[in-house]
Symmetry: C2
Subunit: 335 residues, 2 copies
């Protein structure tokens, strides 16, 4: 399977996630407990990965699995980072409004590239760094408030703590991604075995969160397992399956492609969602959405196109395709 | 003299032009006839070029001058194109408002590159084409109406004639630039002799325009030469000298650099004017101005940086700087 096929699928599913979530609401409100969705998605991913792992067992050679505690104990770390991230996110939203938070969220494109460079020692060319900055600028442009919309000026008027927490949030989000990539690539264990470890801890952490919410609420609505499927419709189940599927695709990309591919997929998904919203929910398209899309498309081409397609290389190089083999960023594409 | 020095000076002077013009108004109105400014600027350019040409005559060898009518008759053509352009501009503004017109004006960045490619047969790399598109997107982004500003929605709601005329206007503006570059480069005549021809016709056409305005107004305010300096202040004279100087710099760039350099200079000037307006006229800075500046800076670097600074070339090429000589777009830099 080629990485760009998986990346495209991730874009489509991530985009559907926003649409499905909106469709699963009635009159703009959730009739079900949204906190149960990520938990069930973790369970779904765990089941799917277990089935695939079991199928690998029936073939020979058996899947490569490191069951050493020294290795297994690393797999809850992404869940821990996400837990901290969620709390920082909550704190940030006490200082800034949601649209400022959304704009600041684009920072994680840049922080991911920086941590990717620092912790995974991947080299990016100057053009690729420029592409990363342009991707962040493009997504931000598309989100700039249109003329005549409410809550102007909020972007520059939040307290300094809000911006600091926003930056911290972007760093934590990037760290979780980069750490997961490190985990998936540190040995050639079976992807499904790595997934089983990742999602077991993911399910546990999500369960703990549901339980904590119950404690905080004094069990007024009863324990979470009694109302797990309350208000669930077919659309809600599609939200769960869709979220689970995007998780599995991200996991695949972390092992066989990298964080930058994931960042491009999800950024393109954000733009696709906005375009689809114009048709599905009668959102008014803005000039800045159009401009943002152009910038992101240019960025995509700048990052992934091989150099000889972008610049005129000296003829000596162009006539010798062998010498170009090392030019594109090394990307494992074997599935 | 290096082309980037001239280009930077052009950026500063073009930016000053907007600031000075605003400063020359009192209570938002011109106390002088603005139509006299371009005429006097043409006269200023003609005088300066004549002086320089005369100085060249005193040296040996004498300046190279083609005085053949077959050559001289080509020099009024830019003035004719500008005359048509002005009328198309006037017609466009009957269909679209000024802010839509300003946004559409960025199209001339792209049309200039297209005509530059077609008529002057200059090759641009894919990356340079992308840089051109990004420059147009960046300048447009910076001009997008801020949240809460008046006259929303106007951009998509003009009649189709408005957009057609806007495109025609962008093509004419590009054609004038590309034709001037052709004139300046078609032989190695002295720059000052070429300028003298260009500005003589420029002065005549501007004079004709003033006379035509008088006829249209039924000479109510008297003939133009009697009220030429009416209401002129020191600032008005600075506007004239500044406009003349930018014209001389553009002329130099057309001969020793090219239209794309000019397009970058004037686009950067537009952004510089907006930034200066924040400080000088208390304009409220917008997020889109900030984003537009980043996109334009990236575009500048993409267009002009030598390829080996942008992408990782195969080591065989990198270690042999001689083989890179032909890579940058050929640009004459001898003054």
């Amino acid at each position: 399977m080629k990485w760009y096929f998986v990346a495209t699928l991730l874009t489509v599913l991530t985009s559907s996630q926003g649409i499905l979530t909106t469709l699963s609401q009635s009159n703009g409100k959730y009739k079900y407990d949204y906190a149960t969705v990520p938990f069930l998605a973790e369970v779904f991913k765990l089941i799917v990965s277990s089935v695939f792992l079991w199928r690998e067992f029936k073939k020979s050679p058996p899947p490569k699995m490191t069951t050493d505690w020294k290795s297994v104990r690393l797999f809850p770390i992404p869940s821990v980072i996400y837990l901290i991230h969620n709390n920082v996110q909550f704190a940030t939203l006490m200082y800034v409004d949601t649209s400022t938070y959304q704009i600041m969220g684009n920072l994680k494109i840049v922080t991911t590239a920086i941590l990717f460079r620092l912790f995974l020692s991947k080299k990016l060319s100057n053009l690729q760094w420029m592409a990363i900055v342009l991707l962040a600028v493009g997504t931000t442009t598309s989100q700039v408030k249109g003329c005549g919309e409410a809550s102007c000026d909020s972007l520059f008027s939040a307290p300094i703590q809000g911006y600091m927490l926003g930056i911290l949030s972007a760093c934590l989000s990037a760290l979780a991604g980069v750490y997961t990539e490190f985990l998936m690539k540190k040995n050639n264990d079976s992807l499904y075995w790595q997934n089983v470890q990742l999602y077991t801890f993911g399910a546990i952490f999500n369960m703990a969160r549901l339980l904590l919410d119950d404690f905080r609420g004094g069990f007024e609505k009863g324990p979470w397992w009694q109302r797990l499927f309350d208000g669930y419709t077919v659309t809600t189940w599609m939200v769960v399956l869709n979220l689970g599927s995007t998780g599995l695709l991200v996991s695949w990309l972390m092992k066989y492609a990298d964080n930058i591919v994931k960042v491009y997929s999800t950024s393109m998904a954000m733009l696709l969602t906005m375009v689809l919203s114009v048709f599905l929910f009668n959102f008014k398209p803005t000039v800045q959405l159009f401009l943002g899309i152009i910038v992101c498309m240019m960025s995509l081409h700048m990052y992934f196109a091989p150099p000889h397609m972008l610049v005129d290389l000296p003829s000596a190089v162009r006539s010798d395709p062998e010498s170009l083999v090392n030019v594109p960023v090394d990307r494992k594409t074997d599935s």
